[in-house]
Symmetry: C2
């Protein structure tokens, strides 16, 4: 099926938008193979939909490094635990397609859960290494679900490169490890986090925030930045992190973790003077869980 010209009139885009809408794995593989036979470099942007400017930035980057640009939209049940927000996760496919229309996307792969996980499906992919700790301490099912669906998206879409946002930094490293380990032949390209003017990292889950929570949310980034600067200035790591954690709690956050790690392996820091460092955090505001990370 071809998606054509569903642009809202207010966009005033002259050319008609047109890309393939693909719903099946077999259809996706056939399209990818056809592109590959033509020697075309395929860039994939995997998403769960609910697209915001951060996603669109990933698509622009894919456009820059690939000759064919694929966006996948799939809310992956395997990466949600039963008590999490799978049912309420924002789904707005028509709006997503309108946002993609002016960006020169060649195809959108949007399979159903039954297409990705048919009856009898029984395989799981698990990554150790960078998936240990941090998110896994609080969402133990998460990276298994991510690794399984990413493997399936890669074998369906056959991309040469896949573009991931660094907002999900641990996920970015897990996927890089996965692709190398399984020899999937997909280069993993990270794109720096896009932020609101007040510093809040763009996220589909920001839509859950109540008005007062939205005003508080940028404090997460501000306190992380303060701690990073203090560490760079020579302050003891434990003290800097504890100070930021207390400030976040005072502001109304419930902090899952705020941790300094090796930026390549996510292992605990052995010698801060000699390693690339990344500060990572997850914290709740009311019923919304925010994550963020910055280089130190």
């Amino acid at each position: 099926m071809r998606f054509k010209g569903a642009l809202s009139a207010t966009l005033k885009v002259k050319r008609m938008a047109s890309f393939e809408m693909i719903r099946t794995v077999a259809g996706m593989q056939a399209q990818a193979e056809s592109w590959q036979r033509g020697g075309l470099r395929i860039a994939l942007v995997p998403t769960m939909g609910a697209l915001h400017a951060g996603h669109l930035r990933l698509v622009e980057e894919a456009r820059r490094i690939g000759e064919k640009v694929l966006v996948s939209i799939f809310v992956n049940p395997a990466q949600f635990a039963p008590h999490e927000d799978f049912a309420s996760y924002p789904r707005q496919e028509a709006a997503d397609l309108e946002k993609l229309a002016p960006l020169g996307v060649d195809a959108v792969f949007a399979p159903s859960a039954e297409e990705m996980y048919p009856v009898g499906f029984a395989t799981r992919v698990a990554v150790g290494g960078p998936s240990e700790g941090l998110e896994t301490d609080f969402r133990p099912h998460f990276f298994g679900g991510v690794a399984t669906v990413v493997t399936k998206l890669f074998t369906a879409c056959r991309p040469h490169v896949a573009v991931f946002g660094e907002k999900d930094y641990q996920q970015f490293l897990v996927v890089r490890r996965l692709s190398a380990d399984l020899g999937l032949g997909v280069a993993i390209h990270g794109v720096p986090t896009l932020r609101e003017p007040d510093g809040l990292a763009l996220s589909s889950r920001n839509a859950y925030l109540l008005a007062n929570e939205r005003r508080t949310a940028p404090r997460l980034q501000a306190e992380m930045r303060g701690a990073a600067e203090a560490i760079r200035a020579g302050k003891a790591i434990d003290g800097a992190l504890a100070g930021a954690a207390v400030a976040l709690a005072d502001a109304g956050f419930r902090v899952d973790y705020l941790a300094l790690r090796n930026a390549e392996t996510l292992a605990p820091v052995a010698d801060a003077a000699k390693e690339p460092l990344r500060l990572l955090a997850a914290a709740w505001l009311g019923r919304t869980r925010l994550i963020d990370n910055i280089a130190v």
Copy 2:
């Protein structure tokens, strides 16, 4: 590197044998991609070496259904538990290559363990469904190791079809499930078990048998055949299996399992009259573990 003409003089094969010896994943992928660009259908025979006539039969089948024939030789450490026979598993690469030389093989992929599992490797593939029970009850690590290495062999070799012996029937079904689930695009082709004239299924591990054990070994197949015939003739399943198990114990076997299962799913049999049935067994003779299976 090209392997050329290492045929023993006694073989008196006129044409010089010649195939590519490939030691790296990158080299294998490059060769496979070159064949794929030529539109050639690649058939892979995955082995752990110690080749016997059963393996050579698989290669013949690959020759029949593929345009390029690849044989992999890799003793996969991930599918052995620490107490098992990884260290003593027979390794005889030179002899294996001589056996393959007259068969029209196009390439042999024989990577090192370090090439397949480099430092930092952290990914595991796990298959449920057909891997539950039977071998898993006695070798719980086994199919995880198989699924991981098969995924890696498929992404390195990029075959259109892979040929597996039905001697490892549960493995055959697990790999078929794996390939479908992950969308690896590899058809799994099973080949009936090759047997010695006395009925013993060919296996590299038969080399472990002492002379008296070798004389006893065909009883496994004989008792299984007897039980299958009794079941076909209408005898109660439990009684037929118990009789065979007692006979095997009397003959000196230590039986791990002797079980009738659904031949497609390996689930326990719900209605023997309406399902395809397979009888599967594993049993020890001294220090050697034999497995076998037959259609019922």
